[in-house]
Assembly symmetry: D2
Homo-oligomer: 326 residues x 4
Amino acid sequence: MQLYALFMHKIPVGVLGASGYAGRELCSLIGRHPGLDLAFATANERSGEQIRLNGRSIQLIRTESAPLDSAALVFSSLPHGHSAAWVKKILDAGAKAVDLSSDLRPGHTEQQIVYGLTECRRAEVAEADVVANPGCYPTAILLALLPLLECGDVASGATISVSAASGTTGAGSTARTDLLFSEVTGDFRAYGVGNNHRHLPEMREFVRGTGSDAELLFTPHLLPVARGILATITVPLRRNIADPLALWKERYSGEPFIEVTESLPALRDVAHRNVVRMTAIKASGISTPTLVVLSAIDNLVKGAAGQALQNANLMLGLDEAEGLPH
Amino acid sequence: MQLYALFMHKIPVGVLGASGYAGRELCSLIGRHPGLDLAFATANERSGEQIRLNGRSIQLIRTESAPLDSAALVFSSLPHGHSAAWVKKILDAGAKAVDLSSDLRPGHTEQQIVYGLTECRRAEVAEADVVANPGCYPTAILLALLPLLECGDVASGATISVSAASGTTGAGSTARTDLLFSEVTGDFRAYGVGNNHRHLPEMREFVRGTGSDAELLFTPHLLPVARGILATITVPLRRNIADPLALWKERYSGEPFIEVTESLPALRDVAHRNVVRMTAIKASGISTPTLVVLSAIDNLVKGAAGQALQNANLMLGLDEAEGLPH
Amino acid sequence: MQLYALFMHKIPVGVLGASGYAGRELCSLIGRHPGLDLAFATANERSGEQIRLNGRSIQLIRTESAPLDSAALVFSSLPHGHSAAWVKKILDAGAKAVDLSSDLRPGHTEQQIVYGLTECRRAEVAEADVVANPGCYPTAILLALLPLLECGDVASGATISVSAASGTTGAGSTARTDLLFSEVTGDFRAYGVGNNHRHLPEMREFVRGTGSDAELLFTPHLLPVARGILATITVPLRRNIADPLALWKERYSGEPFIEVTESLPALRDVAHRNVVRMTAIKASGISTPTLVVLSAIDNLVKGAAGQALQNANLMLGLDEAEGLPH
Amino acid sequence: MQLYALFMHKIPVGVLGASGYAGRELCSLIGRHPGLDLAFATANERSGEQIRLNGRSIQLIRTESAPLDSAALVFSSLPHGHSAAWVKKILDAGAKAVDLSSDLRPGHTEQQIVYGLTECRRAEVAEADVVANPGCYPTAILLALLPLLECGDVASGATISVSAASGTTGAGSTARTDLLFSEVTGDFRAYGVGNNHRHLPEMREFVRGTGSDAELLFTPHLLPVARGILATITVPLRRNIADPLALWKERYSGEPFIEVTESLPALRDVAHRNVVRMTAIKASGISTPTLVVLSAIDNLVKGAAGQALQNANLMLGLDEAEGLPH
């Protein structure tokens, strides 16, 4: 694969499901990537339409017409439940695959698929033929929790309470009356309350995998903004930590896409960027030592298309940061 | 006081600090109240300007010119730190007072002032000469927690984690660059993280007053909406509760301004209305029995001016619900 | 009909098509109207659901089940093309009708139906059995132009250029991808450019009816707000007018729902109110005497449900302003 | 100057007034420009603060401390009225200057300064030591009108009616109560009505310079969006034009930053891009042949910082499109 790069040829990649918000973001990022070439993009309901990528046009085709073997790697942004079968076809055609659906994530399949939370699976991703790209909420939440889970200072049996809010692109591009501008503007509401969100299985598996016995209580909300996720996480600790931020800074030292800050992360800081921005603050005035951890991402970039491309870069032997906005 | 009502005369009331969002909302509500007459409204920086109330004009005057003794009751929406001294002058002038600032709330003063969380202080409010009107966040949070605190089923020593989000009118009407439309649109961020919000003292005092030893961990956020607060509260329980909503329904049975619902409360449901809308849902998949309690209010109505008027109605011997939108 | 009012009974009215934004606004206004009682409300796709009106519940039924003869007057908010036939059934059942669709408006039918632009058809409306309620844009534009058209000072053969912008509720409550929050927020665009909007026929007929030979060039735009219309109208004049605003003030003197102001009207001023707020300003620095006329309405109130109720009040012998927010 | 580029050195440039929205956008664009290096950036009220540019930090200094002679070219984003004097100092220090204020634009000064509407002043800009960068509204409006003005088909003595709407960043970053999120969200209003906007002088001078005797009637509006301008322009013609769009396509053939489209331009299409997107449509149903011309820009990019950089590229002998997002 490295030969492509060596001879300054661009590596051909494909996108299945290019009409949703994540698929469109992915095409747009690929269009600006110096080392990749979009060989094809599929979107059944919009097949025949042209999309413009950095000054060039490409025609959308139907998924069943995708020339899978013309690509070195294919991204699948197909809907949950429909994606896994196409990932198999991609592999059969000799290409690598990054699956943006939940089909192959931990908690959703018995298969042992590499979970592409890049900053803690870098080596596995680089070796993988197929990667399950994490969900948007899990990306924001798990990368923020990771330093704490790894250091073992979460209180035993603790409930980690996660209140998170997402922009509307996280709910997809299908016409729904409850997502009309007239309904969403001026509003704010929770959904999936009581641990009923479909991103919980992959988060639970991941937490368990770190050896922690902490449990998650996750409440997502819908924000009147187009893009972005902010997660507000309260974590009871086994003992006080003198300088909590040092933990994050050390764990993520040198990471190009992790920003550990003294200031409070906000959606504005991360829009259109492939980063997780995070901080941790000690709660005062309560007897249980507790941290409030905050993290912000762009749900379409680091929460979907950007992280998918970050994983693809590793899988294709390219520089991990190539073509990614930060 | 009841004589006013008896003879169908309107009761004269005044407003100190009528230029902020809460003060304006108050004037507007008084203008539509069938039993009250706005005798005067003060706003130092805008004195001389006319405001229109339900088809009638009234001229704003300076606070030091307020004819306090012409009113049966005076609302103070003066800034925190400046209000307590004026409340004293109001009382000295022979009028009753409702203070919308934090000056006289529990945790802010040694004085024993009635805390006007109407639904749990109704009798005291009706007898009071002065009432400290609760903050907007405390109104949403404490009324939602009350049934649970009273029943004693909160786990001993529990941390109650409150993630709440407010519209921008909650941050006041003073020109600040961080509150410009250009900055707030598309954004979402936390503030006062780690239990640093000025509404904590009154909430802590109230929780303690119920006999509970639970502690609050409160994280407020700024929403890109003009009005509304949604509070998302996780409460660890001593034991499982079979039908949690029944607890709320029973406690608030017959309350005109409390809506206990099966559906999830949203800002849209409560805009421009003097209500708290709330629900409670059991968390699944975790070992500690835990409830997620959600409540929504309009921060300017039930969270400020509406509740102030509700208290004033009681203090003046009027029907508690008179002139209030629900 | 007046007997209802005389004996303090409420007059029964019905609503066909209660699930769209205008229909819902209408039900809500009827629920707060002191003299009207909502006898039935229909919505085929939501039949069986309950709607709440001022503390009371009413069940939506299918349109074909509507007991038309139980109402003194029926509002039709059925879609364009489907409404006219139901208006006939309403009249056959012995009730009066207000049609909010475009079916019976001038330019859309050969029938001579009273066009319910209340402020210039008051007497005809009061005598009518059926009234065609004006479109939202025509209400804002025609009432703003009326004083000028009547005085004859518009330049002969002039093009009146109207640039208007509407909130998204004007585009209806049907799920459409181009009306999703994700698409509309941060955007602004024109539509129906080149005189292609379906509200032009009724506006042209009206202008012609005033004896003017002026022609309209109308460009509507979609705003990222939920409700409101602002029309910006440039009118070339036959001659200079010394004090243009005097023209408007005189024409609309005493009108409860017209606000002629020195200040520039804004959407904020008219939200949730049954008013048209307008001003007129002379253009400086150009040789053709020209006025810029601005008007603002709430498209769901004065632009739809509010004006329908205003007309219904007249048709039922009630006070024209009863139950209308201003 | 070209030597810098030849030896792959970056050309040093400076920014005066880097704290406003245009100044910040400029610094951000310079940070990503492959051929430019930000030598200094000034902001009196924020001097001492660090700004981050593409992974590098630079400290803001006071304007009077700016080492003007260290730069090959200096951009001035200082306030109107304060900028001209600094442009003189820049030139005295031996650097070239691009002035983003209105101080040196036509209609504001007697000096003959090149007006940097790049697409019609390319040669003059390339030779200039100082360029007056056009206002945001003039950029959107004049580039859209140019093909029509040049072809001479605008009706003699015509009034060109321009209704335009801008996002809030166009109003600057100073704290003003009328620009608070609480005030702007849900609102839409006109300002400067009757030809009172400060951008008119440069637009009038430009139109006159094309030999046209047409007059402008300009009505700007404030939109509840952060960035973008849409101009809706009605132009009475001398005679019918069979294929109006052909005129625009021919005039702007090969232009990298002009998009002539069949579809209607929208703010979404141009956000964060250095382009003007435009179309022209014939009005139907009126007797005067009339075109509706629409154009959209990002007010901070093509309307300010982007066009300034486009001009600077020409002045510095670089590729005009270098470092510009399109």
